[in-house]
């Protein structure tokens, strides 16, 4: 399977996916930590993909999403944003609404 199909499989089979550096219990970057903490606060189940353990996904996800940085959050197969957008949406209550509207929390 090529990397693009692998990414498609991940986002199609998991309602909430976070491509991050490190793991939720031990993030390796402040931005990844911020987003995983937000998801923890919202008490949502999500699939975390550690791009540091998979250099091919780390490269391909940037092209796939047309987005140059990690972390990247996907909900129901749709790209939601990186750290800044997720933080802003969380602060405005929009992320909670989005997850509620998809019956994910």
């Amino acid at each position: 399977m090529n990397t693009k199909s692998e990414i498609e499989n991940i986002i199609n089979n998991n309602d909430v996916c976070l491509f991050m550096k490190g793991i939720p219990e031990a993030p390796q970057c402040g931005f990844s930590m911020a987003v995983s903490n937000i998801l923890k606060i919202l008490n949502v189940n999500y699939k975390a993909i550690n791009v540091l353990e998979n250099p091919e996904i780390r490269n391909e996800i940037k092209t796939f999403s047309d987005w140059p940085t990690i972390p990247q959050l996907y909900v129901k197969g749709e790209f939601v944003g990186g750290c800044d957008i997720v933080k802003e949406m969380f602060e405005k209550g929009e992320l909670k609404s989005l997850l509620e509207s998809k019956s994910l929390i």
């Binding site: 402040g30 987005w67 140059p68 940085t69 790209f79 800044d84």
Partner: protein, 90 residues
């Protein structure tokens, strides 16, 4: 400013960008932009930028941020590791 970082595999040279260089790149691409940039810890490597422009009117946050990334000509995620972005319309 040039930082030289020695690692076990050799030498990586990281070119950091100054506040003025970042502003210039954004203005070149988004001429009406009002830009406020902070060097968060004074190391020319961790910035936050607030940018407002008419081109952000009526488009999604993702599209707004993509326009900023585009103005940075591929430097985001490379020379520029940490630039947090806030965008708004005018």
């Amino acid at each position: 400013m040039i930082f030289i970082k020695l690692i076990t595999h050799g030498i990586i040279i990281l070119m950091a960008l100054s506040v003025e260089e970042i502003k210039k790149l954004i203005i070149t691409s988004i001429p009406d932009a009002t830009i406020e940039i902070k060097d968060l810890v004074g190391d020319s490597n961790h910035y936050s930028a607030k940018i407002s422009s008419k081109i952000f009117n009526g488009i999604s946050k993702i599209e707004q941020h993509k326009l900023v990334y585009k103005s940075l000509q591929g430097k985001m995620g490379n020379e520029l590791h940490a630039l947090s972005i806030t965008t708004e319309g005018k």
